[in-house]
């Protein structure tokens, strides 16, 4: 049981002037499942490895509970890196497969047995403890791998893209299993992925990083509803949020020939920064079909039918010459045809406004 704290933790590689992780401040509470997500090179794996002791911390500190682990050797940190790629030894029982590493660490036999049985129970593998791995299904094998980490009873689990080499189907299955198991175990877990869907579906909270800087750390819901900046807005959500630079006018912002109403106080913030425009964001599902007299005209280029819904990938007609791509979610039962023009309006209150100066949410 432990909290994890990054305090202005940085990692600067020799020969580089830009830190790979830049003054990271992060508080992970006891038992929490925190997912670090971001595009490649954002510093998410480096952050995890700093916690694991695989990367030196150039400045700042990292704590597990109230222990400062900044300069401890990996094995003295009481953490377990969980791999998806553990080997299963065919001649050993499932129980031995889970517990053998404890033997070399000097854990007494009775204690190993207790931990293995406990882990097997958690993993629904009780019936297999004395059997050989040959008897296991693919999913059960994955759980034995988890078992090997669980029996170590670490204070923190670390997982670095653990699903990356599974096929799509097993990935979704294992994703659910890991999330469910983590909740049962209640062990603080840091999980790294580049996949925002994985992040949103698994984490209690999600930390988005870019260029070594923490962009936002929040619950998946809050991250989705109130992204802190343009980057998070575009990164979280699939298909992604529509983002467009729009000129500030009386009563709102102008997009194509239409004025989209935006609360006055938000526009005042932008004007105070000296800006004449804001970045307007609206999610595909926050658009509704309107009649031709009011909405934004969108010409459908590609229509992706998913059954219940369909996504229209189109262009705003009225910004011709400066074509703006727009994605619209529509009812799957009557999607527009390719080439057809539809009219859409943003549901009031569902627009996101960002400063064109700082990129921050207004």
């Amino acid at each position: 049981m432990a909290t994890v704290t990054f305090e202005k933790a940085s990692r600067l590689y020799a020969g580089s002037t830009v830190p790979a992780v830049n003054q990271l401040d992060l508080d992970v509470s006891d038992g929490e499942f925190l997912v670090l997500v971001g595009p490649s090179g954002c510093g998410k794996s480096t952050s995890l490895r700093m916690l694991a002791g695989l990367e030196e911390v150039t400045s700042g500190a990292i704590r597990i509970g109230d222990r400062d682990v900044t300069h401890l050797a990996p094995k003295d940190r009481d953490i377990a890196m969980v791999f998806q790629n553990y080997a299963l030894y065919p001649h050993m029982t499932v129980g031995d497969n889970m517990g053998f590493a404890l033997k070399i660490a000097g854990v007494p036999k009775d204690e190993i047995k207790r931990r293995v049985n406990e882990a097997a129970k958690l993993l629904d593998l009780e019936a297999y403890v004395e059997r050989k791995p040959k008897a296991l299904s693919g999913g059960q094998r994955q759980r034995v791998a988890m078992g090997r980490a669980i029996v170590r009873e670490p204070q923190v689990f670390l997982m670095d893209e653990p699903l990356s080499n599974l096929d799509a189907k097993l990935r979704v299955q294992t994703r659910t299993q890991i999330a469910a198991l983590q909740r049962r175990l209640d062990i603080t877990t840091l999980y790294v992925t580049h996949d925002q869907v994985e992040a949103m579906t698994m984490g209690d909270r999600v930390a988005v990083l870019k260029d070594g800087l923490l962009q936002q750390c929040d619950t998946p819901r809050a991250m989705y509803d109130t992204p802190a900046n343009v980057f998070v807005a575009g990164f979280i959500g699939s298909p992604q949020m529509n983002l467009a630079e729009a000129v500030i006018v009386d009563g709102g912002v102008q997009l194509g020939q239409r004025v989209i109403p935006v609360p006055r106080e938000k526009l005042d913030v932008a004007t105070a920064e000296g800006a004449k425009t804001v970045t307007l964001g609206f999610r595909p599902e926050d658009l509704t079909i309107t009649d031709g007299s009011t909405g934004l005209a969108v010409k459908a280029i590609v229509v992706e039918e998913l059954g219940a819904d369909a996504y229209v990938y189109g262009e705003l007609v009225e910004t011709a010459g400066n074509a703006l791509d727009v994605i619209v979610r529509v009812n799957g039962r009557k999607p527009p045809a390719k080439g057809e023009t539809i009219h859409v309006g943003i549901q009031p209150g569902h627009e996101h406004v960002f400063s064109t100066v700082s990129g921050k949410r207004i």
Binding site: G53, F83, Y89, I104
Partner: protein
């Protein structure tokens, strides 16, 4: 997506393997039954025109990652299997997508540890195996490679004149960094310890382990050997002109550990007062094995080193790239080595082994060239050596009491080129 093969497959028949069938179901007549290690993926071997290839089904990202890593490791002169290519766009006749495949060249005469251990393994054989693995791990770490899954299963061992050389075969989890931190190395060692221990326990559980081999002690021995070797190699030795003995000491300590030094990397400090010396270590008997592989000449280690030096000099003289090593070796045997040995009259051939004769001719050449202030050429040196030196030598054949091998009269009997 159509079938695509990226990489540099020099064997066109690779394209015509049954890629539309899952690897697990490939017809037996396409396959070679070679011993395999424990793998999370389906791995099969095929033989095409005399060469064996290993094929592994693995996700596209991993396949491409491993392919490029193996290529880079190869360039860093780390012993690893040779990556041939990645096959993507595989579909079954019903249009179902199949997993991509990574093709590597099978390492000739190599064995996974299971095959080595499943025969009765003598404890000293186990020790040689572990030496080979700890050396491989040190070399990988020096090259900045973080393995993250070091195990006996991910290593192939090539039997080599009573010893073993270890090769990395699975780089799937690996990462290449400029330099590894102590934490990264520690982590790699922790993983290696647990993996190797587990593998020995499994052999034990399967009744395949020699009763004198203790899983825990053996696994821990690898890590201990690694640490001793790293202590000698991890830090470059900094010496001044008068401290040559320090280098000799280091070489001796490495020899005591059971390793040879193949070459030194020497870098002068900017102020010119010190040089940094970093020995490049190979397992014992490296030179004689390399010479044997290249030329079929089976000689002692020091002779081999001398002969290889001449061979390397010959190659750079011809201006040929290192890839043509085998080719150059054949040329060198035919045009340099054999003429010298053949120039010894039959009645004098019992005096000294051919490799030793060649070695002494090289010495003689150096001596004469220095005396006359110009390179007199090896033919003249050989002629002079026979009359001036060899004729006065005692007959070693009689001393040794057995026949000393003479090379054949032609190059016809040279071993085939092994790549």
């Amino acid at each position: 997506m159509p079938l695509q093969v990226t990489g540099s497959p020099d064997e066109p028949d690779l394209l015509f393997l049954p890629w539309h069938i899952p690897l697990e179901e490939w017809p037996a007549d396409q396959l070679v039954a070679l011993p395999r290690g424990i793998s999370r993926h389906v791995v099969r071997f095929v033989r095409l025109n005399g060469l064996v290839y290993a094929i592994k089904e693995v996700g596209v990202t991993l396949a491409e990652h491993e392919y490029s890593l193996l290529r880079r490791l190869d360039r860093l002169d780390v012993p690893c299997v040779e990556a041939v290519g990645v096959v993507t766009g595989r579909t079954s006749p019903t249009g179902e997508g199949l997993e991509p495949a990574l093709i590597t060249k099978h390492l000739q005469f190599s064995l996974p540890y299971r095959a080595l251990f499943s025969q009765t393994l003598r404890p000293d054989t186990a020790t040689r195996l572990l030496d080979a693995l700890s050396l491989l791990l040190v070399r990988l770490h020096l090259a900045g490679f973080l393995w993250k899954d070091c195990s006996l299963s991910n290593t192939l061992f090539r039997r080599d004149a009573g010893a073993f050389a270890a090769y990395l075969v699975d780089a799937e989890t690996g990462e290449l960094h400029g330099q590894l931190s102590d934490g990264q190395r520690d982590h790699d060692l922790d993983v290696a310890l647990v993996n190797i221990y587990g593998e020995f326990l499994d052999l034990e559980a399967g009744g395949m382990l020699h009763e004198t081999v203790d899983p825990q002690q053996t696994a821990e021995a690898i890590i201990r050997r690694y640490r001793r070797l790293w202590a000698e190699l991890g830090e470059a030795l900094v010496v001044t002109a008068g401290e040559r003995y320090k280098v000799t000491d280091k070489v001796r300590r490495l020899n005591d550990l059971g390793f040879d030094v193949a070459e030194f990397q020497v870098v002068a400090e900017s102020d010119g007062s010190h040089v940094r010396v970093r020995p490049k270590v190979v397992d014992a008997g490296h030179h004689s094995r390399r010479l044997l592989r290249l030329t079929g000449l089976d000689v002692q280690e020091n002779q081999a080193r001398r002969l290889l030096n001449d061979l390397d000099a010959y190659r750079s003289h011809l201006g040929l790239p290192p890839e043509d090593e085998e080719l150059v070796a054949h040329k060198w045997v035919a045009e340099v080595f054999e003429p010298v040995v053949q120039s010894v009259p039959r009645e004098l051939r019992g005096k000294l082994e051919p490799a030793e004769v060649f070695h002494e001719v090289l010495e003689h050449l150096w001596f004469l060239s220095e005396q006359s202030g110009q390179d007199i050429g090896i033919d003249a040196a050989a002629a002079s050596y026979v009359t001036q030196v060899l004729a006065y030598r005692p007959d070693e054949l009689a001393v040794l009491g057995k026949r000393i091998g003479t090379p054949s009269d032609s190059t016809q009997s040279l071993p085939p080129i092994l790549t």
